[in-house]
């Protein structure tokens, strides 16, 4: 009988919860909960330490503490983790010794779902993966399935596809600028970033009918042609976007505090970035000029003029500058696409349910977070036999344990925000 119960005659709800937990665990065939007696701050003494022996060498390394070290859980519900993710941080004072990302809180099994959906339906399942760039998520499967089907996409559809993904890139990179400042305590830039994003979202909503999960791509084309509302909004947006971005840029780029906290922080060398599989703006900020749009040109990118921009230093500040440069380049690409867009149909004739010949197809696109690729296998049936997705932010997270040791706890958020991960994509 606890103190509460003795005083009031009412059972302590914590004790009731523990009894219920023990009953449920027994019913499910799991081990009984640990019978450790908790003190006044129940559970505080064993935060982060798993109640089982370590499974691997690396886990033993992270979860064993030397004198003066402690473990700290960041997340899973943390405003700066960009979704639901837990970072187990090993600390010595305020200095990070080691870091272990724990994923899977948002795992929905999209790959398995896609194995049970027809090829057309797959394009609706991949939207909520990387929800800040849903158009890119649909792009790679569409290309892969067109390879399997052996069909040709109309020229105009290719231009519309490139147009919407570049719009999406502007919005996503603009948000990254805001979130990076937000995670370091600057609240204003995110508000300006959302003004810009809202305009892009309205644009894409005008062409696709949805604000976030567009379901716009079809195998062999796109769902809708551009309409008057889209074109008029695009004109307004184009006249204002650079002003918006530059306003935000002036707010952040030369800010003394921002520079002090980002320059020389979390430096990732090009060699390490390649070994770790980091792609996209994060890789280019480390000086490696790898861009899928140039390296393996898909769609119409072979015909468009653009450079692969790189930075030299590979720190948080370089990753931020890289985003700004890419926004401007995307706007340059959008101008070219609008100028050259041909007339014609936007959808090839494709039956609703197709049984493509058995085969394999690999398609990669450059998403705002890096190389997003799809490997699809057909066995001749109406659904893919295997549908494999490689999400760039999932792989980029591996850089955290490499970069963080030696930095302060508060810098974790800056480094993580500079990689711009989206947990919907990380956890698939």
């Amino acid at each position: 009988m606890t103190a509460t119960e003795r005083a009031s005659g009412v059972p302590d709800p914590i004790d009731l919860d523990r009894a219920e937990e023990a009953r449920l665990r027994t019913a499910a065939g799991l081990n009984a909960p640990s019978q450790q007696r908790h003190g006044e701050y129940a559970g505080f003494e064993d935060i982060g330490l798993p109640d089982r022996p370590p499974q691997t060498e690396r886990e033993a390394e992270v979860y064993s503490l030397d004198e003066g070290e402690m473990l700290l859980n960041m997340g899973p519900q943390h405003p700066s983790t960009h979704g639901v993710m837990r970072l187990v941080v090993k600390l010595r004072g305020e200095v990070i010794v080691d870091i272990d990302p724990v994923l899977g809180y948002l795992h929905r099994g999209i790959e398995k779902l896609c194995e049970n959906a027809t090829y057309t339906t797959v394009l609706t399942y991949v939207d909520p993966m990387d929800y800040l760039s849903a158009m890119h998520n649909e792009y790679a499967p569409a290309i892969a399935f067109e390879k399997l089907y052996g069909i040709e996409t109309p020229r105009r559809a290719e231009y519309i596809r490139a147009l919407v993904v570049e719009l999406e890139r502007v919005s996503s990179h603009g948000l990254m600028m805001g979130f990076l400042a937000l995670d370091m305590g600057g609240l204003t830039p995110i508000l300006y970033a959302f003004i810009n994003r809202d305009e892009v979202v309205d644009l894409l909503s005008a062409i696709s009918g949805q604000r976030m999960l567009y379901n716009f791509f079809r195998v062999g084309g796109v769902n809708f042609d551009v309409n008057d509302e889209f074109l008029s909004r695009l004109g307004t947006w184009r006249s204002q976007v650079l002003k918006n971005i530059e306003m935000n840029e002036h707010l952040i780029t030369d800010n003394e505090i921002f520079r002090g906290r980002t320059i020389g922080m979390g430096v990732l060398s090009g060699r390490d970035a390649i070994a770790l599989g980091v792609t996209g703006p994060n890789l280019r900020a480390s000086g490696v000029a790898f861009d899928v749009r140039k390296a393996h040109p898909y769609s119409i990118y072979r015909d468009l003029e653009f450079d692969v921009i790189t930075q030299e230093s590979g720190d948080v500040y370089a990753r931020y500058l890289q985003r700004i440069a890419e926004i401007k380049q995307s706007i340059h690409l959008i101008d070219q696409i609008i100028d050259r867009m041909p007339h014609g149909p936007v959808q090839a004739q494709v039956p609703g349910i197709v049984r493509p010949r058995p085969g394999r197809a690999y398609a990669a696109v450059e998403s705002p977070r890096g190389l997003y690729s799809v490997y699809a296998i057909s066995d001749g049936g109406p659904t893919p036999y295997r549908f494999r997705m490689r999400d760039p932010s999932f792989i980029s997270l591996q850089a955290l344990p490499k970069l963080m040791p030696g930095h302060l706890v508060a810098d974790t958020m800056a480094v993580m925000a500079s990689f711009d991960p989206v947990m919907g994509g990380v956890d698939k």
Binding site: R52, G104, K147, G277, H296, Y298, Y362, Q398
Partner: protein, 236 residues
Amino acid sequence: MEHLRRPRPAAHPLGRGRSLTTPVAVGPLVRLLTERLGARARDLWTDEDAVEIQVDGQDNVEVLRTVRDDPDLEFFFLTDAGAVDYGIDAHFEVVYHLFSWKHPAWLRVRARVQRDDPRIPTVTDLWEGAMFHEREMYDMMGIVFEGNRDLRRIYMSPDYRSFPQRRDFVLPDDAADSAAAGVNPLERPETWDLGRLRHAAGATFAPAEFRADAPAEGPHDGAQDGETAADKSRPR
């Protein structure tokens, strides 16, 4: 309606034809691969923008090191590594996709893994970034990467016991009818009604040593370390 009458594009000699990705010249790459890898690379096959080879599971590190370090090949970037389950009576495959500046095609290396002993050497020594790929493959398919120093589950919880992306994994629709319905059905493979699976007899859900009910390793019949049966029968 012009586009409706457009004839299907003619098949490209290298694979099925399409115009989205311009077919690239893969001839030099095919020749180099045959020359450098010899008998280790089987079933060479080309797509319009990819070249594919199949290797034995145990050869994967050697083959990948060759294509990465050879100055004429230089496939320095591992863009993807994923596993494929070809069914209960077949095998697993670990599929690596590689990129090189010197060749305008993706290189796809398919390494075969036996289903009853799903082990393959790790490639984390070549690319550190293969770690999360391998953890995901272990989590989803149950493929064990020998030499990987952090082979934990990455998406599912650590006490999860089956491998959800295998072809014989029972989907919730099936599990809802089973005896264990209501109590975490997907986490209790021993209660699944496997009779409805086509190949129920051969169904395996975990390598034997990962099962909770597996006998612990090592001699436990009173023998000491290093003893054989013959030693034990000898009088002490």
